[in-house]
């Protein structure tokens, strides 16, 4: 069965430091992968998505993600975080049979001043 694992429940990073959030998926075919961000009081917002082609995907707010088929991973990165990046981040994979998204449990990002 398809699944998404985000191994880190919380991550604390200093402002200005680099960030990497991990996402591992289980899927038989080429996955369609997504990263969303959920800020307090806000709806989920799409950061970026991967379908095919270049394995390094650029998204909004300076985020990027790299698809690595050999590791079944789709990790999210940002070179330098800002206090406004504090939020919860969700990775998701699309189920091909009915286009439903299967979501990870999320990683809460905490920014230290």
């Amino acid at each position: 069965a398809q699944s998404v694992t985000q191994p880190d429940i919380h991550i604390t990073v200093s402002e200005g430091a680099s960030l990497e959030l991990r996402c591992n998926y289980s899927y038989g075919a080429t996955p369609y992968l997504f990263w969303y961000v959920q800020s307090p009081g806000q709806g989920l917002q799409l950061l970026l998505k991967y379908f095919s082609g270049d394995t390094l995907v650029q998204g909004i707010k300076g985020f990027e993600a790299e698809f690595k088929r050999s590791q079944s991973s789709f990790n999210l990165r940002k070179p330098s975080v800002h206090w406004s990046d504090a939020a919860e981040y969700f990775c998701a994979v699309e189920r091909a049979s009915n286009y439903q998204l299967i979501w990870g449990a999320g990683t809460k990002l905490i920014i230290k001043p």
Partner: protein, 118 residues
């Protein structure tokens, strides 16, 4: 407003009460989705509408859950005889197209309704 709105933002219900949660999608969006997000978890799909037609309700956990979108715009998720396990954030999302692959059709989410059943 320009985004998806949901009301109420917070709802407290006593066990056994009926509740109704409202979603106002982005104007003109064809597709509408409801999700349930338990504490510390990612969203889980409940149901999907294309205009007024409910095309997929496979995620509704029981027959106490009912959703409608009678005019193809505003949608209501109704939960009858609420139970404590229904406590969660209920998310609504809409998309411009027919709600197939996220490859071509981005879902826009509302802020959610936090339901607490006592």
């Amino acid at each position: 407003g320009a985004g998806v709105s949901q009301s109420p933002r917070y709802k407290v219900a006593k066990r056994g009460q009926d509740v109704a949660l409202r979603c106002d999608p982005i104007s003109g969006h064809v597709s509408l989705f409801w999700y349930q997000q338990a504490l510390g978890q990612g969203p889980e799909f409940l149901t999907y509408f294309q205009n007024e037609a409910q095309l997929d309700k496979s995620g509704l956990p029981s027959d106490r859950f009912f959703a409608e979108r009678p005019e193809g715009s505003v949608s209501t998720l109704k939960i009858q005889r609420t139970q404590q396990e229904d406590s969660a954030v209920y998310l609504c999302a809409s998309s411009l197209g027919s709600g197939t692959s996220g490859r071509t059709d981005t879902q826009y989410f509302g802020p959610g309704t936090r339901l607490t059943v006592l």
